[in-house]
Symmetry: D3
Subunit: 196 residues, 6 copies
C-alpha cells in the first residue's frame, strides 16, 4: 500500500517539518518512515508529534514523568503488538531495547508480555495498559489500588493510559496507510555495544 | 471517578487554553467537559485540539475535506459507540444531530449503524471506519474500491481513518478519566427549531 | 427491510389484538411499531405480550416484583444495547427515562452502563443481566451472594434473568425484521415536565 | 442449582398447567423438567408454552410452516449448542433424532453443524439461525437470497429467526436456573425401533 | 470432504500400522476412522499414536498418572467440544462413558462442563484444561494452587496440559480432513450392561 | 515458571535423547531449551520429535514436501504468534530468517503477516494456516480452490494444516511450562553473513 499514499520529498515539506526531520536524521542516521508518512498533511503531523513529545519526552514540555523512558517505550511496544501494528512494534521495540539496555525485552513484550523478563511493577503497568487498549470501557476505580501498590501515582497512571491511547491512534494510522518500518530498526539495540 | 482527576479552574489555566475555552463557551453556552478535563496537562491539551481541528475543522488549517461536517461527526459517533465511550457518544451525537439536521440519526448510529436511516455512501463510510476501529491490522488494498465506488477519494479515505483513529484516542482518555457528558448535550438537536 | 414484512392494517387484525392496540394508542398517543410488526402472526403476538406482561407488569398477573418499574426498563435497555437492537434501545430507553424520572439515564445505560449515574444496587443488577445476556452458560451459584448483598432475593434474581432472556428474544426479532422505533420515542422523557 | 429454584409438586399447580403436564406425561412416559421448572410462575409458564406451540406446533394455532418438524428441532439443537444450554441440547436433540429418524444427527448438529450429514438446504438454514443467534444486529436484506435459493420463503425465514430467538430465551432460563435434562432424553431416538 | 483424503486400504499399509489396527479392530469390533485417516502418512501416524499412548495409556510407556482413565477422556471430550471437533467429541465421549460408567456424563461435558454432574476436582481440572485450550498464553504460576488444592500434583497438571494440547492437534487434523466418527461410537456406553 | 519443571541434566537422559541432543548442540552451538524441557518425559519427547521430523524434515522420513523449508518455518512463526508463544516465535523466527535469507521476515510475520513482504502464495498459505489455528471447525471444501490456485496440491495443504496443528500443541506446552527461548535465537539470521 506504500504507493497509495506516497512519501513526500523532504524538500517539498514546510520548513518546520523539514527542520525536525533533519534533526532526527542527524541523531538517528536515517529518517524513520513515520516522519515522512504523516508529513503529507502538515497540520496533522504537527499535532501528532506535539502529542508524542508531550507524552514521550515530557521534559521538553516542562513536565517530568514517574515512568522511565524505557517503561514508556514498553507500553508502546505492548500496545502496538496488541493492535498488530508492524511499524510501531519494530520501531519502538528498537528504542525499548536501547533504553532498557535489554536486547531481548522487546521481542518478549511483543509476543507475550506475561512471559517477559520484567519486574512485577512493569507487569502491572502493562496489564493496565492492555485494559485501556482493549477494554477501556471497563476501566474503573478498582484498577487504581494495584497500580498504587507498585509505586505508580495518579499522574503516572495518566501517563500509562495516555501513551496507550495515543499509540492506539498511531497504530491505526500506520496499519491503514501501509507504513513499513525502516530496515535499520530491526537490528538496533540487539547487539550490546562493546565498552571502550 | 471525577474526583481522581478533578477539573481545573478556568482561571488557573494558561492564557491560550482559557481563551479558546471562553470562545467555546461563548459559542455553545457552556464549556464541554473535555476542554477542562484535558486542560490539567496543557501540552497534551494543545496537541489534542490541534489534532482535532486538523481533522474536524480542516478549513481552519487550510485544507478542505470531501466529507461533510455531518459525516465527520457520524464517524465519531459510530467509533465512540464501538468503544462504549459515554462522553463522546453523547457530545458528538449532539453535534451530529445538528449538522445533519436529523434529530434521530445519532441514536440510530450509536445503537446499530447498520439499521440507521442513512444513504449507502454513509453506510460504506461507517463500515470502513469500524474496520479501522476494530481490526485495523486487516485493512488492505481490497478495502479501497468499495469506497471509491461511493465517491470517496483517497484523501477522503484518509479522513475516515484518521478521524476514527483520533477518536479512539479520545474515547480511551474519556473512559479512563471518567469524563461525563455535560447535561446540555443530551437534548441538543433533538427538537427541530421552528422556522421564523 | 420494512417492506419485506409489512405492518398489517389495524382493521385486519383479530379483535383481541385490535383492542389491546387501541388501548395502547389511547394511552401513548401512538401505536408502538412492535405491536403491529408482530401482529402478522396473532398466536406469536399473544404469547409475546402475555410473556411481556408477566415480567414487566407482573401485577396484572397477580404477582409483585422486588424490582421497580424503572429497574425493569433499565435491564431491557442494557440488554438491548448489548444486542445492538435499535428498536428496543430507543423505545425502552424512553420508558426508562419516564419511570426513573432521570432524563439522562437511558443514554448512559445504553452506551456504557458502568459509567451511568446509578446506585451500586442497579450496577450489580446490570452486571448480572449482562452475564445472562452474553455468557448464560457461565452463570452459577457464585453469582447469587453479590446480588443478595444488594437486597435482591431469589425471586428478584429470577426477574432479572427472565427479563434479560425475554428481551434477548425481542431484540433478535426486531433486528431480524427491521423494526424501526416510532419517532415519538426518541424525545419522550427527555424534557422534564413543568410542574403545574 | 436445582435446590435454589425447587421444582413444584404437580398437585400444587393450577389446573390448566397440571392438565397439560399430565398429557405430556401420558404421551412421553415422563414429565420433561422444563414443564415443572417454569411452573413456579404460572403466567410465565403459560406464555412460554403458548409461544413454544405457536412456533413448534403451528398447526395447533391454525398455521402451517414450510419447515418440517425435524428442521425446527434442528434449529433448536444448533441454537442451544451455540448457547451451551445443557437441558435444551439434550432434550431437543432427542426429539430431533426421532423426527428426522437419524440417530446420529443430533450429536453432529450439536458439536459442529458444518460437519453434520445434512442437505445443503438445512446447512443454509442453520447458517442463518446462527447469525440470528450470535449476530442478529448484522442480519440484513443480503441474507435473504441465499435462503430463497434453497426454497425458503419469507414466512419460513421468519420461522427460522423466531425459533432461534425463542430458544435463546429458553436457553438462558435453563442455564440460569440450573435445569437438568431428564435422564430419559439422553437415549431417546438413538436405537432405531425394529419394524414389526 | 472424505473423498479429498480417501481412507487407505488396510492391506496397503505398512506392517506395523496394520498390526496395531488389527489389534484395535479385534478389541473394539471395528476400526476407528482416525486409525485409517492418518495412516496415509505412516511417519505422522506413528508419531501421533506414540504421543497418544504416552499420554493416554502411560503405563505402556512405563509411567503412571495421577489422573484416572476416565479423567483423561473427560479432558479430551471437553477440549474437543471447545474446538468443535465432531470426530473427537463422539469417539472420546463414548470412551468417557465407558470408563466413568456414567452414561450421561459425555453429553454433559460436551455441551457445558460447568453444568455436568462431576465432582469439584474434575471441574477444576476442566477449568484448567480450558485455559490451556483457549488462552494458553495466560497460564501462569497463579493457576497451580487451585489444582494442588484438589490433589493434583505437578505431574498431574502436566498431564492435563499435555492431553489438552495433544488433542488440540488431533481436533484440528480431524476437522481439517473431514474425519467422521464411526457410527458405532454414538451409542457406546449409553446403555448400562446388564449384570449376568 | 522455570523452577516448577526444572530442565534435566543431559547426563541423566536416556541414550537416544542424549545422542540427538548432542547432535543438535554440535550443529547449532547450543541446546535449544525445548529439547531439555520435554526430555523429563522421554516417551513424550520421542513422539514430539518424531512428529516434528515427519513434518519439518520430511525427507528424513522418506517423503518430500511441496513447501520449502522456509515456508514451513513461516507457518510455525505465524501460528506461534497467533498463540502468543514466546519460545516458538523467537526460536522458529530465527530459523525462518536463516532459511528464507530474509533478516526482516520473521518479525513481520510475527507482528502482522498481512503486512509482511512475502509473495501472494505465502500470504494465501498463512491465511489458511490461521484458519486451521483459530477456527478449524469452519474449514471446508471452499478453502481448497484458493490454495490450488497458488500451486498448492492436496498434500501441500495437508502439510500446512498439520504443521499448524502440531505447533499449536508445541505452543501450548511451551507457554504452560514456562519455556524460555535461548538468548542465541534472538539474533540468529539478523545479520547477513558476508560472502567470502
Amino acid at each position: 500500500m506504500s504507493q497509495r499514499y506516497p512519501l513526500p520529498e523532504l524538500k517539498d515539506l514546510p520548513e518546520d517539518l523539514r527542520q525536525r526531520i533533519l534533526e532526527v536524521q542527524e541523531k538517528s542516521g536515517f529518517v524513520p518512515n513515520v516522519f515522512l508518512a504523516l508529513a503529507r498533511r502538515p497540520a496533522e503531523w504537527r499535532a501528532f508529534f506535539a502529542y508524542h513529545d508531550a507524552l514521550m519526552t515530557p521534559e521538553t514540555t516542562g513536565r517530568t514523568s514517574g515512568l522511565t523512558k524505557g517503561e514508556r517505550e514498553m507500553i508502546v511496544t505492548a500496545t502496538s503488538a496488541a493492535n498488530q501494528c508492524l511499524y510501531c512494534v519494530v520501531a519502538h521495540g528498537a528504542i525499548l531495547r536501547i533504553y532498557e539496555k535489554k536486547p531481548l525485552v522487546a521481542d518478549q513484550v511483543a509476543v507475550n508480555y506475561r512471559k517477559a523478563d520484567i519486574p512485577p511493577r512493569q507487569r502491572a503497568m502493562l496489564d493496565f495498559a492492555m485494559k485501556v487498549c482493549l477494554r477501556s470501557h471497563e476501566v474503573d476505580e478498582a484498577d487504581f489500588p494495584a497500580l498504587h501498590a507498585h509505586g505508580f501515582n495518579d499522574e503516572d497512571i495518566w501517563d500509562i493510559a495516555a501513551i496507550t491511547a495515543f499509540f492506539g491512534l498511531s497504530n491505526r494510522m500506520a496499519s491503514f496507510s501501509g507504513m513499513m518500518p525502516n530496515p535499520e530498526f530491526y537490528l538496533m539495540g540487539r547487539v550490546p555495544r562493546e565498552k571502550k
